[in-house]
Amino acid sequence: MAFKGAIEIDTAHCKGCGVCVTNCPTGSIRLSGMVNSKGYNYAEMTGDACIGCSACALVCPDSVITVYRVKI
Amino acid sequence: MAEKILMKGNEAIAISAIRNGVDGYFGYPITPQSEVMETLMKEKPWETTGMVVLQAESETSSINMIYGGASCGKKVMTSSSSPGVSLMCEGISYMAGAELPCVVVDVMRGGPGLGTIQPSQSDYDMIVKGGGHGDFHNIVIAPASAQDMYDFVDWGFELAFRYRNPVVILSDGIIGQMMEKVELHPAKPRRTAEEILEAAPWAVTGKPAGRPRNIITSLSLDSDIQEVFNQKLARKYAEIEAREVKYTEHLTDDAEYLFVAFGCSSRICEAAVDELRQSGIKAGLLRPVTLYPYPFGRIGELAGQVKSIMSIELNLGQMVTDVRLAAGGKCPVGFYGRQGGNIFTPEEIVEAFRKFNNLK
């Protein structure tokens, strides 16, 4: 069974720690070149390889990631 | 008619706690107050009223157990003696900062340091002026008999909950150890969960849906918020000072000389006053029952009536500072005291009185 996923990031509250980036098995999340109002390079989804596994959200200390997943 | 039983002051504290619906006692053994916890353990109130009694690993821990119990809106108390109360000062300050009601009993002994195990009143400054770091006051009530020990537990909780403030029963080794007749007033049950919600809506009871979470804390990192809180405490203390001052007087109406003494010293002083009266000297006694708030007003009035005032204390002269403040220079103020666990006799007080007043 295959899954396709998507994440939504509360970029205003992301602190850009990057822990999600190293935990993503599909390389679907990266730190943006842009900064939020606190000056952090916030995380953003990249590409279309996300499988909605929630690894990024589980390790996120600030609970800023929401994860969606569908079977395909 | 209420039952009368012969008991020690320390035992009266324990029996009163059980009979007045106290929810928990947490303590640590120290002479001369160990009978409080021993009596509670012997009485096993957890089988009758459901009161929790626990021997903690230290006074530091027992006062923090009180902090935890008081946070839940429960009537909780501890007792100790001077060196143990020093350790408790941390927790007392936190409870003043978190505005928690509790009753702490200090059965004073001689100090500083380990000092002696005999009676003393040398924690006056520590408890009345401080009791820990920061800008706060304990409400301090000073029993002078085993009956007071019994009665002050309930009164202490009444004050503690009325003002959300720690109350210290400042007793001493004489009152704690002395056996006297104690009238046991009718028993009062422990508060129900509903009564706690009503008496202490601020308490942590588990957050139901629909009310904001209750947080018990003394922390604020914002100076402006902390200052607003400090000023709120100041208003509370002003109310306490306006409403709760309590004292007793003995032969003060026509007194030309005044003694001021609290706790056990007031009992001994009363005998000295009577002795002086027999020899034609119009002496009188004012006993502050509340040490905070202090009866500054009444002592000030009497200072305008008498030729002199003497503060009689079992220490090097701590309360005398407040007596001087109250007298406001209207008359000379003297001091007589014994230290180290020694106790004065009425005759000694009379002799010191004659010397201070240049009377033969």
Partner: protein, 255 residues
Amino acid sequence: MDIADIKRPENLVYRKPALITDNVMHYCPGCSHGTVHKLIAEVIEEMGIQDSTIGISPVGCSVFAYNYIDIDWEEAAHGRAPALATATKRLCPDKHVFTYQGDGDLASIGTAEIIHACSRGENIVVIFINNGIYGMTGGQMAPTTLIGMKTSTTPYGRDPKLNGFPMVIADMIAHLDGTAYITRQSVHTAAAVRKAKSAIRKAFEYSEKNIGLSFVEIVATCNSGWKMSPVDANAWMVEHMFRKYPIGDIKDVLK
């Protein structure tokens, strides 16, 4: 399939726990505290015990834990949380009572309180965050600081001759008869987070059985105090901290 089509309510698989408040956490980027807070919030939510849970926060970085999890809280003096929890649980035996303490709080100034709460077998949960350093006061040595580790009070590295040895609290308290469940976990990977959450859930469930104290140590990072990036701190933790503080269950009286 478009990303917009995936982001529909029926496809939601993970979101911020309902019991985590909207207050922005004051923790540094990548700090383990936020992750552990989240797990506690999820466990309370899933067990449906919000209205019967009382948390006790410590002194240290997590002093403000009460700002982040939507339950009733008591904020303790430094190290005293187990004393507060003892009375809270004994006076309110139907409540779930937990302390949340760091290593400065629990392993240094609060050793007497934690050891005696364990020894008495209080039916409480203790969450112990061990990152080998004092965070809030600016990175001083903790009892758990590793040998050779540089902190602001061991600028040349912890030297056992000068500073003594690291304390392994979880193993120490395992010898006490009053403890029921003792485990050491971490939250640096998704798998670790899942295991840590199960451990926290088990600890809360054990506290309902009145079989003694449950203790969940989380080996954690303090990237600011360690002066590393959050990602590097996680790698350093795995390489160095796990050697002294190995991950896994230490005691389970029901097994």
